[in-house]
Symmetry: C2
Subunit: 599 residues, 2 copies
Amino acid sequence: MINHFCKKPLWECSQTLAAVAQGRQPADLVIKGAKLVNVCTAEIQEDIDIAIAEGRIAYIGSADHCIGEATEVIDAQGSYVSPAFLDGHIHVESSMMGAGEYARAVIPHGTAGIYWDPHEICNVLGLEGVKVMMEDAARTPLKAMVTTPSCVPAVPGFEDTGSFVGPAEVAESMTWDGVVGLGEMMNFVGVVNGTDHAHGELAETLKADKVITGHYSIPETDRGLNSYIASGVRCCHESTRAEDVLAKIRLGQYAQLRYGSAWHDLPVLAKAITERKVDTRFVNLISDDTHPHTLVKDGHLDHVLRVAVECGIDVIQAIQMLTINVATCFRMDNELGSITPGKCADIVFLDGLDTLNVTRTIIDGTVVAQDGKPLFDYEPFKFPEWVTHSVHLGRQITPESFAVPAPDGAKDSVKVRTIEIIPGKVGTFETHVGLPIVDGKLESDLSQDVLKTFVFERHHETGTFGVGFSKGFGIKCGAMASTVAHDAHNLLVVGTNDEDMALAANTLAECGGGMVVVAKGEVLGLVELPIAGLMNDLNAQEMSEKVHALENTWEKIGCTMPSPFMTMALIPLACLPELRLTNRGLVDCTTFQFVDLEV
Amino acid sequence: MINHFCKKPLWECSQTLAAVAQGRQPADLVIKGAKLVNVCTAEIQEDIDIAIAEGRIAYIGSADHCIGEATEVIDAQGSYVSPAFLDGHIHVESSMMGAGEYARAVIPHGTAGIYWDPHEICNVLGLEGVKVMMEDAARTPLKAMVTTPSCVPAVPGFEDTGSFVGPAEVAESMTWDGVVGLGEMMNFVGVVNGTDHAHGELAETLKADKVITGHYSIPETDRGLNSYIASGVRCCHESTRAEDVLAKIRLGQYAQLRYGSAWHDLPVLAKAITERKVDTRFVNLISDDTHPHTLVKDGHLDHVLRVAVECGIDVIQAIQMLTINVATCFRMDNELGSITPGKCADIVFLDGLDTLNVTRTIIDGTVVAQDGKPLFDYEPFKFPEWVTHSVHLGRQITPESFAVPAPDGAKDSVKVRTIEIIPGKVGTFETHVGLPIVDGKLESDLSQDVLKTFVFERHHETGTFGVGFSKGFGIKCGAMASTVAHDAHNLLVVGTNDEDMALAANTLAECGGGMVVVAKGEVLGLVELPIAGLMNDLNAQEMSEKVHALENTWEKIGCTMPSPFMTMALIPLACLPELRLTNRGLVDCTTFQFVDLEV
């Protein structure tokens, strides 16, 4: 497909590049004396100059003849230069920042391009919301290449989202310059079962000659995986075992080894290639999600690269997995992913192949970050009002809203289904607990660590809500609420008492969404996320501090698990086992049926 | 780009493939128990079944569940299966056969696809002629993917061809389904010098999102090569030294190592990868030209593969160079070049990895050749009359036509420039020879092995012709003529006396073109090539016998060099050094100037 992420298309500047290479015209920029990480031949070449014009590489060799009066010259002695990094699968919203601030956070870590699936905002605000994020991203040097969210809602029929994506919406989005493919096809059940909906979306992507990205998350590598790949899904980031990786690359699917803030699959997956001799061209390294504190503390793909090398992957091969292999996956290797003539001049400087610290990032021939700081101007993006006011409950929430009447005929106690969370994991257990009836109602029971849990539809003022109980947070008082509540991002409230739950819910309703902890009528901590109820326009450092402060308030009310909001935010995610709660009710996610609260 | 070379686009059959992989629907064909050459991971996998439906691969593993009553089952026990071969650069016309018979000749040798540059016929009959060849090819299973001839004429201003290609013609052809790129950009001088003509053609190809193929034939790998690659040329088959190959792949250009009938570069080039450890993903193996006797005696890409292995290239890497690496070069690896789900079922059976004999070829899921024989029906193509009558001299040729008056003022003898051929090489020398004046004219001089040489324009009846002398054929009597005369394919006549030269010329004019040897008023040998004066509709065996018989007649008149017609056919090729003769006159091909016969 035509690459729209460049300063100029090659056909508009090929004559200039030819002239610069020949020395008839000066380069805009020359990098002198670098150690080149050649991802084409998997070699290090010593003492290499790189001449750049029109945002593209014109010449590689000894480039004194390309230097004119106006040419900027960078001495790269002692540095390694590598193609800048490409993230083959990422959700910007996980950073809780808009795409602009996200770009400012990742570019200093060497990221030039992301293949992002904006499915969080799409669930809330549809493709119009995606467009707004794309506009924000386009104001930065980051090549923010969109894969259209394919599964909105994630589990049709079991939840209400703000929007809907089907084949027609996919077809429409494929005409946009910034769209390069289809976002993770989580509906692998629909694909292998051959539904018109899933295959209709695949078809519209294939007709547009773009790339289908995958999400095949089950440990089945035979008929199901073959079926999924035969349907045209070119890559998948959902491997959890080394054998998943091996099966995928053998079947010609790009295996995207994940090392994100939440999911650390890489060390296990790396064994697929470190414990046997295989061609690694079908392997990518990706992040999937990166939270602000990870960006501030560890970095982005540079961090993933360091982890990959620690896992025993050859450093040049690992760099290939972040550069040329990603570009080839997306069939854009004619434009991106290598430092070779004609390609976009997207380059990172590394201080060494042992340390792998990024000291400079160049995108389209411009130095856009140095020594950890972005160098490009960025005025805060003005999000439209409909983006920053996305909480539409259509009702007043009061303490009475959280009353849970005991089932008819129940006497002293009721045995209920609870969603038992597992710290640090995405799964839940369905656990049955006896709850006492108090004044004809069911209440949270701190002695059993069981909390009332509500999900209110917040997109279309339907007034619908789901009621359940969750278990395992360990809190002793207060309540929490969040509008980050995957994937429909309705308003999720968990708490010990109705007054605090109402306060938590109303606090978020008033500020346009976010994450809040309250206790005894007081707001202890609040991260406002007014952009679709998912993001803020603060920078990574500020967001990291805010999230950290909020997590401290969890501790105050008794919860000691790591990143509890992340675990809580998955309570409504009805595509994962075992028991979940959406705005339509409790869902048994092993049989995909609604179930009653009472066992 | 969208692949039009398949039974059905994937978006029309993804549901069927998913169903077959899952066992809900039977496969059309199942291959059982093969040793799979996995070009994705560079492994051999033992005892693999492959299920095929709708011409595509649906499933790989243990495929009993895909077998229904109507499923064809092939037992592959003992065989290796590999993706079928792709030739990244080939001129069908070199085979002297139409594309249909060419397909019948190469498919039994495992070739499923060719990226062909039909620039011979285009020089004669323009893009309309290309279209006719494409129609012929389309009647066979061969994926005959066209790269539009870029250099017609090869050296503008120095010869008259039947046609012309510029940016507008390239743009028009890019809308054709069968066109996947631009043919070899021989005008590397124009590219590095930035001419509008050359860059205009590159631009039209890039705008159409298709691939530019190259021809960079000088031993310069610095500024010129960088300039050429920066202009967007993705591959090049014109390496003659190992260092050329290394330079190209380091600069991200696909190096296509050639082993054709005429040019045997591979053994030298292979050292670029056998004598050092480099990633070989940017290496292809190609044939460029394959004459009928090579096809009959040695094979096509299977022969190149065997030579590559003899040269020390790892056999799996060599197979990658004929399959996935070629498909990736043309950005069609999502459709071709590997045996993986969803891809076109283009498969060869090999009897062993040591012998590498092709025993069966499958294209789009159908067995199209077995044990060296094509299995598909092919009715001889009916070429239109304007294709089979392409010799338009516009004049009667008589012995008097070959009179060469001595220059004014010359007395006993004249020192003339002669084109000295070099047996087995493409180059010539400019050699100065004194010729006696006989009756005021210059004649061939057998004592110095110098022969009169004429090139008559034969496309537009302009009546123009060039006069010169060539040296080195060794013949003692008679004359030869050919309408295969690169690249303009005018009528070339070389001989010892005017009567035989006239007979040779008129014999070809009457039969619509070809190659002829005459002596003493008698036609000793004739290969009729009525299709554009370049090809015949006979099959490879018949053509091989005819060419062999003709070569024997060369011996009869005294020439002992191998394939003398090939060497003779390059006399007019004004893009190669040193001295050449076109219909416009003698060309010094080192300075690109017309020169006089007399020194």
